[in-house]
Symmetry: C2
Subunit: 258 residues, 2 copies
């Protein structure tokens, strides 16, 4: 698409992108993914996936719509109520929101676990280092001593004491096969995906149709605000969230515009 080419590619640091640029968020996102590819964190196809997401975000108005905010609050409540919440990290997530995921893990006492579609030891190590540089103390996904049933490929690999035994899992930017396999294991899935029609949000208990760079900090803010909430209040927030309505509102927004 043409619009992507209107800012030169020679921005070295994200601070060089003017904050008042009308497409600041999109340019920042693209720059972070590009840096991720260069660092070996993000697969080249992650650049394509991010471009795809950026078109949906453009149609969504590049803002957190009310139903997405409600989903993010419900997701925060799920994480706070969980016995063992895990935040799944792939190459795009690590490139886009490394510090923000660490903050969310801290706010909800969740584990961070790396899980890659195109898994190599080098990428796993690069992502673990990147997360630690952004404040992570423990990073799971390196052991990979358990398997998600009924799933081919490397992405079936998980940690036995991580995603395998988690009750609530945040899977941002996840592929449909894996989202379905996790759902079949009976886990409560929280999915971030900008296309409300793709399979991952369709199978999620909480589908969050929002840009991950807005969604994750907002989830952390909700979690911090709800830190002292009782179980009843958290359950009430979860009950009040209507996943069908959220998916419909997101699709309606994308289809019909503002």
């Amino acid at each position: 698409m043409s619009e992507d080419e209107t800012v030169p590619a020679d921005v070295t640091h994200e601070e060089e992108i003017p904050e008042d640029h009308p497409r600041y968020q999109d340019l920042l996102t693209r720059h972070r993914i590009e840096t991720g590819v260069e660092k070996g964190i993000t697969h080249l196809q992650g650049m394509h996936a991010e471009g795809r997401g950026s078109a949906f975000d453009y149609l969504l108005g590049e803002e957190t719509i009310p139903s997405a905010d409600a989903a993010e609050r419900a997701a925060a409540a799920h994480l706070l109520l969980a016995d063992h919440p895990v935040l799944s990290i792939n190459g795009n997530v690590a490139a886009l929101v490394p510090g923000e995921m660490v903050d969310l893990a801290d706010a909800t006492d969740a584990d961070l676990e790396i899980n890659l579609f195109n898994r190599t030891d080098e990428r796993i190590a690069a992502i673990a280092d990147h997360l630690r540089e952004h404040g992570a103390t423990e990073v799971k996904g390196l052991e990979a001593d358990a398997r998600i049933p009924n799933l081919d490929h490397q992405r079936a690999k998980v940690d036995a004491d991580g995603i395998y035994e988690a009750d609530v899992v945040l899977v941002p930017l996840e592929d449909g096969d894996r989202a379905e396999a996790l759902e079949a294991m009976g886990k409560t899935e929280l999915v971030i995906d900008l296309n409300p029609l793709s399979r991952s949000p369709q199978v999620a208990e909480v589908p969050i149709v929002d840009n991950i760079i807005r969604a994750v900090p907002n989830m952390a803010a909700h979690a911090q605000e709800l830190a002292d909430a009782g179980e009843g209040e958290l359950e009430g927030i979860i009950e009040a969230f209507d996943r069908e309505e959220a998916l419909e509102e997101a699709e309606e927004r994308i289809r019909s515009g503002l």
Copy 2:
């Protein structure tokens, strides 16, 4: 976006992508762009741009809608009537439709000219070689001895006997600034772009809202069919094409679905 990750990334040749895959066209496109990046033809940001395009194509139904077919026929008529038609080639165009652009150039007696946003001698040479491997005999854009007025960056560079003096220019996947600058030079612009709201199709005489991998072969087919048509017939096809209606139909399709 998640859906992009459902086919493994280790496809080495495009023949390995199953033709009956429901997302064959998208996978083929992504593979060609990825190969382009690896070959030094396509800038990394081209992968992002293509991903962005793929989302619009998904919403469009991944088919050439009737108004796009009409635009492609009108564009073919413009190229056939032109005194000096030029087809502009950037890194994504070269990666996606090298042979198809050569065929279109042959069918309309047009020049092929390389023009890059992120211009380097290496990329220019790689693209020229790639086009020649796909049958191109003459490739312009290497001299770069003229400039498009009122345009910064490397993309102002054009050949004096190419785009600079052309009367009709096909600019696929072009950025808005350059499309506007060419329009200001009084050229008849034919633009291929999957987002009907971006500036390039908005300023084009003929906006073609279609995937380039469908659009270019279809333009060549129209040109071949119209090879013996008289001026009157070609002018009639151009007159009958309504650019506003085409833009509206494309937006309507993207917004409301099938």
